[in-house]
């Protein structure tokens, strides 16, 4: 599949924004983080910036962005519509929670409860985002058990790393809790990514050139003449091949920069002690950011669409 920059930014940035929002709510509501005003302004500002810029970016690949509001109407059947509706509804409790923190200086009690409701809705929104992809049968690399779990874990992981960096700068809250959460999430999402790559390589093909044409009864099917000499929309959008050539190398880059290096850096904070916390948490965040962009690019570029069976692929 063609990896559109707008969608890569959307899924990584708004994922990280929702992840950060979850940790702001959980850490605040359970008393791991005081309702410091400056911390709140920076933290919520960053979370809302990531979420909103991601959502706006997702409208960037539309042919008719001025009609984007229409996408909110079909929540009964469409995951994309559900995602849009959920994203807008989520601004309610998360906005109230941010106001409670910044204006009233509270993040526990009732405010904390509103925050936790917001956190749950953030997770639901990320899940809906993942289902846009995981619901497509025509793309087996997306329609599997790993896709939604991956989106959720990586949103929480990137959010936790931002939270860690913020806490390091402000010297606020129980930073050891955030360190443990970050290490656990980096480990889990790294393992999940490995399992995902293994699955898309070893899962039996869902469709073949024989089932696509129905000509399997005569033998192995191969295309001998394409309908057109130049690439059409289908081949440009669905027949993206660049990543597969470098897939192995890119997977290693994603794994090392996205999960292994950040995990080592965050774990090193525990060993080296708090004087290094700011430098190490920022390095971990930058590294994970690069890794997640590569990971997301691969998620799109590596995924094969069954329509390519009509254009010379033998199985998908």
């Amino acid at each position: 599949m063609h990896p559109a920059k707008s969608v890569i930014y959307f899924t990584t940035a708004s994922g990280a924004g929702y992840g950060l929002m979850v940790w702001l709510a959980v850490m605040g509501a359970f008393g791991f983080l005081p309702a410091d005003r400056t911390f709140g302004i920076i933290g919520f500002g960053l979370a809302f910036f990531l979420i909103i810029s991601g959502l706006l970016s997702s409208t960037g690949h539309l042919g008719r962005p001025e009609r984007a509001w229409r996408a909110l109407s079909q929540w009964r059947s469409s995951w994309l519509s559900r995602e849009g509706v959920s994203a807008i509804l989520t601004f309610g409790p998360t906005g109230l929670y941010a106001l409670g923190w910044v204006v009233l200086g509270q993040n526990a009690g009732l405010v904390g409860l509103i925050g936790l409701v917001g956190a749950l809705m953030c997770l639901i929104t990320v899940y809906f985002t993942s289902m846009i992809y995981a619901s497509l049968k025509a793309i087996p690399a997306w329609r599997n058990r790993w896709t939604s779990l991956g989106y959720l874990l990586m949103a929480l992981m990137s959010g936790a790393l931002i939270m860690l960096a913020l806490q390091a700068v402000f010297g606020l809250g129980l930073i050891t809790v955030t360190i443990k959460i970050s290490v656990a999430l980096l480990g889990l999402s790294g393992v999940l990514k490995l399992a995902y790559w293994r699955a898309i390589q070893t899962d039996p093909p869902r469709s073949t050139a024989e089932s696509a044409t129905g000509l399997g009864r005569f033998g192995m099917v191969r295309m001998i003449e394409s309908p057109h000499g130049e690439d059409n929309y289908l081949l440009k959008e669905m027949g993206y091949k660049v990543a597969r050539k470098h897939a192995g190398k890119l997977r290693r880059i994603a794994l090392v920069t996205g999960f292994i290096l950040p995990m080592a850096m965050v774990a090193a904070i525990m060993v080296l002690g708090l004087p290094y916390v700011a430098a190490l948490s920022f390095l971990a965040l930058i590294s994970a950011g690069i890794g997640l962009v590569v990971e997301r690019w691969l998620f799109f570029a590596e995924a094969k669409h069954v329509v390519t069976l009509y254009y010379g692929n033998s199985k998908v």
């Binding site: 469709s207 009864r217 099917v221 309908p227 059409n232 669905m238 329509v307």
Partner: protein
């Protein structure tokens, strides 16, 4: 709107494509483009049509495949027109976030309302058959309409009220009709020839059917005898020529 019809009628209009007959001439694609570029889904934009990398929206794409059985040492070459199958369980309809993509309750035709389409392309990702193409110029998706503006058009003579691809096929490889009615001509044709759906494992329940190429007849493997020209008659030749012929034949 983008939910599939809650009370679909029994009518399921669709195409039956006979792969035994299709000669791969692309006439269906050309006439489809001709009709539809000024039809409901108009225009079928072309980008750089005379340049080095022409691209454009087409509702029909004609592939040619070879099916090889290496054990038996046989192969078949099959021309294969590909277009929208107007699926009963159309995933392109249910993924649409705006309601632009819909399946008609009365006859099952899958259409796009290009006035409200936002061009998110998700329907083209959901379709296993590549039936939907993006119009870069208009920023919306386009697809086969089963010539909805032709098949019901009372200004046309009844025999012309079939999709453009069907009326133009010089070999008669394409048939149009109600596949929801077991007694219709197309349904009988499908039953008689073991017509099949493409990629049933994708769960989309396509309406269109393909008829498989007929088995080869025994003896087909032997090439026909060369024709030799034997012309013993001298009808119409001149008197002198006929005399020379008679003398030399003696």
């Amino acid at each position: 709107m983008t939910r599939l019809p809650q009370n679909p009628s029994k009518v399921k209009l669709g195409l039956v494509i006979d792969l035994d007959i299709c000669v791969g001439c692309h006439a269906c694609a050309v006439n489809c483009k001709e009709w539809n570029t000024s039809g409901k889904m108009a225009p079928l934009t072309d980008i750089d049509p005379y340049g080095a990398k022409p691209d454009g929206v087409w509702f029909n794409r004609i592939h040619t495949y070879e099916a090889v059985d290496e054990v038996a040492g046989t192969s078949r070459t099959v021309h294969f027109p590909r277009s929208c199958l107007h699926c009963d369980d159309a995933p392109c309809v249910t993924v649409c976030p705006t309601g632009a993509s819909y399946k008609r309750e009365e006859d099952g035709i899958v259409l796009i309302n290009t006035d409200i389409c936002i061009g998110c392309k998700l329907c083209s990702w959901a379709c296993p058959y590549g039936a939907r193409e993006y119009d870069e110029d208009e920023g919306v998706m386009k697809k086969c309409t089963l010539c909805v503006d032709k098949i019901y058009n009372e200004n046309l003579p009844p025999e012309s009220r079939v999709p453009a691809c069907v009326s133009t096929c010089p070999a008669g490889a394409r048939s149009f009709g109600d596949l929801g009615d077991p007694d219709s001509d197309v349904s009988k044709l499908v039953a008689a020839r073991d017509g099949y759906a493409l990629m049933p494992e994708q769960g989309t329940k396509p309406v269109n059917r393909y008829l498989p190429p007929r088995p080869k007849k025994v003896g087909d493997a032997v090439a026909p005898r060369l024709l030799e020209h034997h012309d013993d008659s001298n009808d119409g030749a001149g008197l002198l020529a006929r005399w020379v012929d008679k003398v030399l034949s003696a």
